[in-house]
Symmetry: D2
Subunit: 502 residues, 4 copies
């Protein structure tokens, strides 16, 4: 089953054992047919299709030395900077096929983060996690499993630590020989309804008192005790309509609140248990992987928006106007800046273990995500400007289909003759559905950590003391300086950095 | 009927003669009960209620020297800079009561713009327009009529002028002794479905060949030949639900495409006819009035968003965190900058005729609107940041009401004990419904003219040649300079400016 | 001597008693002839000339009800919002005559701030300060005295309060029947070398333990024990050259460190003594006045820069290029935004006492200054862009004057034939000297309080709780709301605000 | 002489044949001792020293396959993406040693650009240029020659092409068997006074009529007919003082106007002659190399400024204040964004010929430079904010050295006891000299092409039509799409791109 097709994936989640998923208060029978979730399933599916489509298959496949077979890259452990860059390129490319977040990155980044962390734990003498994880990884790769990743706890009052408000963080309530029992909830879990399994990680650095919360594992979604409540999104009403222009054809993503009510996890699926010192490190490693990826997927959505704005400008004959050109240019600059940062985070990667654990460059990964928290709102604003007021006032497809109204709409919304009025409405709706989507705006702010998290990370990686030393030398406050020998002395080395977050 | 109550207004539009309004392809029976339009009606209604509510009545009423009675300010002709400032303050205040655009400003600004323009035409010897208009104004004031204003034509291919694509601009097809016949369409007409009458203006400066398009008039919405197609908005699906948290309780606005199919306008309602030289002037005067107003209504929505973000920060105990404080502070700065510009545009007003036609300061009005095209996206971005990921992932009210899910949601989404989980959902939904609304984002970009229009206007008002003269003097390229005597020599005088746009 | 001419002023400071002023380590004999200070004297002088020049005299004069004569506005106590607006307009205008900070505003704002504060103290029963101050004011107005204002203490370690590091704040060391003795230093004192007297104010809110530091007074600069060390500025070397293009002709400002070494102040010149509760209020009132003014003088310098950039674009024939137009337009927008905020701070003023103490609107004054901390760097950046690389590489005037080089320079730096190469160099130097001046860049950041000070002030004036109340009402967390009755409920009232800073 | 020491370089330019260099109208005898130029020579020298200093030698050396020896990297032809990244890292590192532009990059980028272009010409059949160039390259590498690069012509009226105003572009006036004669001038030539030879390139794409202007060559600076007029810079007066704090110790750069008055160039030094079709390509290739480099040197200066601001914050005890932390963080973000873009431009390089001509990624190189045109002004603004007003008002070193003033200055400017007052002044001066330098501000805007040039380049590389195709597919205007197979379909391929600029 290595390299499943999209259809195989859809069939698998259609026929899986009963999972308990709720949308707008009602339990969902079949996510693949539910109007709220189907657009998500189709976006997720694109990650499978990509491995079979001519233009993307070389990027979407990778060779696994664990199972000695070609696997879908979304289950691959990065083996080189080029692997990391291939990730960013692939994400940008699939965005073009979906116009939406395809939701499979969190699970992928979780695999890589746990791989590295368990390696580090193994190097420190605790080998069982690594061994278990590699077995699990082989299973995932062989079966091309659809994974969600779950990190964010509900967190309650932000100033309290886990042990001060136990309900607010997922915790281990019992440990037996065979496994562990966990209770709590994970919030904002992307693509959860379209996944087969969920990889769970802790959400923050822990102290010794928080030991019960330092837990990582994986579990199928149909495990007893798991409930999923799908969250609402701006403009989600469109999915519930039966049209073909205003909302339905667009793919989308979803996030869910996942409740663990005394859920049993067999020990072979437990990848961290009580190792509170490693919790922050796992978070750090995961976050940087995930932040890097945003340079790909968000610039991919940026392309969709640029393309839509450009087309709408053409439809009314203004694409050559200097101010339109200027705005398009600025959109591209912002978009390529996000992407280029992701590429730098990839190709200037950090080797964390001898035989090749490649981590992203933590500075550039955090810069990437910080840009992503800012630029999409700018890009959407420029696209609004270029599209014209029609982006907020266009008639519905039902108006166009009403024979009494159709001739008027066709007459009055016609622009250049190369395009029909239906073309115009379709493009306006694409721009509205992508430009104002949770995936492009809200997720860009909060996914992979809220903006402040990146700022803290940047502050930890940059060596202010070294910069000060330079300034003291140049101002001759100090007459000589020992310039650091390493190639990038302005950067704290990774070990120091990781240690500091523990 | 002077100073109608909100209820009187609602009853009036409920019982008016048949108007032909379409929403999502179907004709609307009663706008006051239609789920898509009712939130708009309630927002419009707030402009009537404001004149009867203790906190706002002094701002919401004004003395009309035309009918020697107190009138609703939304029908008032500005008589002083203080009147103009009262407008901005009133708009900010009503925004707090609606959390939405209340849609009555366009008609109001149309009244003032036609008043000034017809005065100017009268001064140039053509008195009939002014006389007709004052009669109409008295009728509007006495009956506290709900007006929409219509300027924007559909415009087709933007590089062609009206006479080159006649269908793209509203035009006069026939003139009789008793009146005129018009055909065409007006687009993006705010609040049209909730209005009783529509005041129509031309959309741009015209040349002699465009004479048929230089027309201004007023007409009841139930006039034969008028059809209205209401446009869709981001997140509009929420209105169609029957809930009480996720969408319904929030007020909103709407825009519509208004079709004029050989509509007869009696001559006493015609305020401009073929005066192509005055067309650009009317547009200019109207636009600046409308741009000034945005300093009030958009900062009012800004307050709602700041308040919601502040409350959500409190709900999770982070309102004192420096980075949260910093972002709130930045939101206030942006918000007050928009508002302060609107106040400057008001109090530093321009007198256009001897006995008191007060026009806004055209520089500051354009600066105001230009800021409004930029800051709301920033404000919404900051509010997204402060609110946390929940803004894109919160469960629906239907989940909260499902007894199986309610205990989980209450447990896991609880923050500080001062607030219930329902409080949290309500506040998240308010922020979503306002922060990502067409009124706050898209309308801020395009209402009262797209961003480029203000830039052109700013360029016309600022005297670059004078600035250059200063620079030549200071660099001693020229040894002396005749500094202009007037108080603000960096500004072209209004007359020059208006002329240049004709 | 009311309404001195510029020449009278220059003569007065040329012939004053010995003052102890140092520039670059050497004592200055005559500030009016010293190459480092003369450009400052000429800029200061412009405030006197303005009252006698046709284009500015109506703005530059005001009627004093204290002495019943027309006075130079720079000594005037504001009596109306229009007075406040006249200040902003005057400052913009004089900037055009100097291309530099003219340094007389601090003293002027000090007069107004002490006037208001001593009034408030009088209302609270302590009348002597007010009475003394009015006598002093009459003297200043009658003699059109050149005042510097001094607020900023050297402050040492910023986390310590005055009584914890007494040397870091000016303090009273002895009080006698006839007067007081003070020691300490005031830093960053604008125009001090060109002033006749110095008005001293405390620099921050104080606690009871800081009583000795709560002191305000005025004293001639030639008082025994005062030493002034003039500070250096970016590009100050140009002043020391004897040329006529590269540096000399440009006016400038200066700041100085003023040392008080056991200086005696006669009691009739003491306007606050130990009133620690009022110290913060005086600071607040002064700062807002000063922040408002920046909307005028900095936009005036902005005009100079816009004019210079526009001219340089013309000199090489690109002033119509869309991207040049776009940048000029953006510069104007930024400039008018600063100015408009200052105008709003003026015309939407606050009345602090019954018979007319007019204070600026504290929100808009702080917004103005916050914009001023940001936009000049933007404006200079755009002007650099438009000017071309020549702004950093142009030959010196000495090259142009070298007959061997002159023909080459004239051949190769020639642009459009309307301008000579000397014109080009002159304009480049103007732009360099103004665009990169301390007055436009550094003073814009720190004058009237560093950026954080305005942010704190904005946070104190904006009523977050009211904004939250609105949000609670609109989200129906609270079913009803008592909207505040006053016209601007989003604003804390002045009394509350001032109290909070005490 | 391969791998000269800094001292060898200085001796070489001290003793070279007479070159004709003018500073402020006077001819310079010895650039190594001239106060205006010595700081430049010291900065240039750092590029030689770097190859002998422990911390930098591995970056600063590279293996030349042309001469089979280790060469100074500043003469190296890039052989891999890693070589390109080493360039960016080296530039950042040397900036730390100089606090200034070290001026050797233009010549280096010229070598690489001519190498690639002559290769392309050779592939098209014209081999002589390539052969000549390789000979020249060997000479440069063996002798570690100090090169300046000269591209920018004086350009006169920007709307005219070379053949329409021949004096405004360097041109070939005569071709003989042995060589060519050229006349004209090159402007803004960085480091020219400290270089031994000058590599000349054309400045823009040419048409057939501009054939005489399509010329590239190299020539020693002491060739007859060459005159250099050194340009002035903001704050250049400081260099002329004999102090040790305020100006002198800081290194700097310079630019000059280079006049070619009928200069003979021997044919073996001619690398392009009349190949107008290749002129634009050479410009394009050079510019992208040079734009990439700015990611290194400007972020290096950014480090100096961050370090200085951080130290100044420490000196007054505020480095932990949240708003200071926030600003430092923002500076780092901007700085690392510039750097990371340069790294992406390097590691995601483009191979232009089979055996390894590595060109930078043209999109990321242009993004890098575009960021560099914007961020330094931001960084300097933040540093001004953190440094406090003292950055514009600090006493001179001559005041500190005056025994009458020293005790006062030491008392009143003292901050934390870890630092002396002299330390404070030194750090303030470093920040002033670097933060407001031509190298950090003006050169960042105009070096390697003005901002508009990058915008045009970005527009040429980004494939808007492909983005539109995606949008049409996703909106279902077109039912299917041929996704491009290449890894980055959103990018026009290099060949297309280069062609389009020809």
């Amino acid at each position: 089953m290595v390299l499943r097709t999209g259809e195989e994936y859809v069939n698998a989640i259609r026929h899986r054992n009963k999972v308990e998923i709720y949308v707008m208060g009602k339990e969902v029978k079949d996510v693949t047919e539910h109007p709220f979730l189907k657009p998500s399933v189709l976006a997720f599916k694109a990650t499978y299709d990509a491995a079979h489509e001519e233009d993307s298959e070389s990027l979407a496949r990778a060779w696994s030395s664990f199972i000695n077979e070609e696997v879908n890259r979304f289950t691959h452990i990065h083996r080189s900077p080029e692997d990391l860059a291939a990730k960013v390129k692939l994400l940008r490319k699939i965005s073009h096929k979906t116009g939406a977040c395809f939701q499979r990155c969190v699970g992928w980044d979780a695999l890589n983060a746990i791989y590295v962390t368990s390696r580090l734990m193994a190097e420190r003498g605790k080998k069982e996690y690594y061994e278990r994880f590699v077995e699990y990884l082989k299973y995932v790769q062989k079966n091309d499993v659809a994974l969600a990743g779950a990190m964010t706890d509900v967190k309650g009052i932000r100033t309290l630590r886990p042990h001060e408000q136990p309900h607010a963080y997922l915790r281990v309530t019992q440990v037996t020989k065979d496994g562990i029992y966990v209770s709590g909830a994970k919030a904002n879990i992307t693509g959860i309804g379209a996944a087969e399994e969920i990889v769970v990680m802790p959400t923050r650095a822990m102290s010794e008192k928080d030991m019960d919360f330092a837990v990582a594992f994986s579990i199928p979604l149909d495990t007893e005790g798991i409930k999923v409540i799908i969250g609402r999104q701006v403009n989600d009403g469109r999915r519930l309509e039966e049209g073909e222009i205003d909302g339905l054809p667009y793919r989308t993503n979803h996030e869910g609140l996942v409740i663990f009510d005394n859920v049993f996890v067999p020990m072979e699926r437990v990848f961290m248990l009580g190792d509170w010192q490693m919790s922050g490190i796992l978070v750090e490693i995961f976050s940087s992987y995930h932040r890097q990826g945003y340079g790909g997927c968000k610039s991919g959505l940026g392309d969709v928006i640029i393309g839509a704005a450009y087309n709408l400008a053409k439809q009314i004959g203004v694409e050559k106007a200097p101010h339109i050109q200027n705005k398009l240019n600025e959109m591209v600059l912002l978009n390529e800046n996000m992407y280029g940062s992701g590429i730098a985070a990839s190709l200037d990667a950090v080797k964390l273990c001898e035989d090749g654990c490649w981590w992203v460059n933590p500075m550039f990964a955090n810069v990437t995500k910080q840009l992503v928290t800012r630029f999409p709102y700018e890009i959407t604003k420029f696209s609004t400007d270029i599209a014209g007021g029609i982006i907020g006032t266009a008639p519905s497809e039902w108006d166009l289909k009403n024979p009494k109204l159709k001739p008027y709409i066709e007459k009055y919304l016609q622009g250049m003759m190369d395009y029909s009025t239906e073309d115009r409405l379709r493009m306006v709706r694409l721009l509205e559905n992508v430009g104002f989507s949770v995936a492009f705006l809200i997720e860009s702010v909060h996914g992979a950590g809220s903006p402040e998290a990146q700022r803290i990370a940047i502050n930890r990686v940059y060596d202010y003391e070294y910069a000060e030393k330079i300034a003291k030398y140049l101002s001759q406050i100090e007459k000589r300086i020992d310039f650091k020998e390493n190639a990038e002395p302005w950067r704290k080395t990774d070990t120091e950095k990781i240690a500091s977050s523990g």
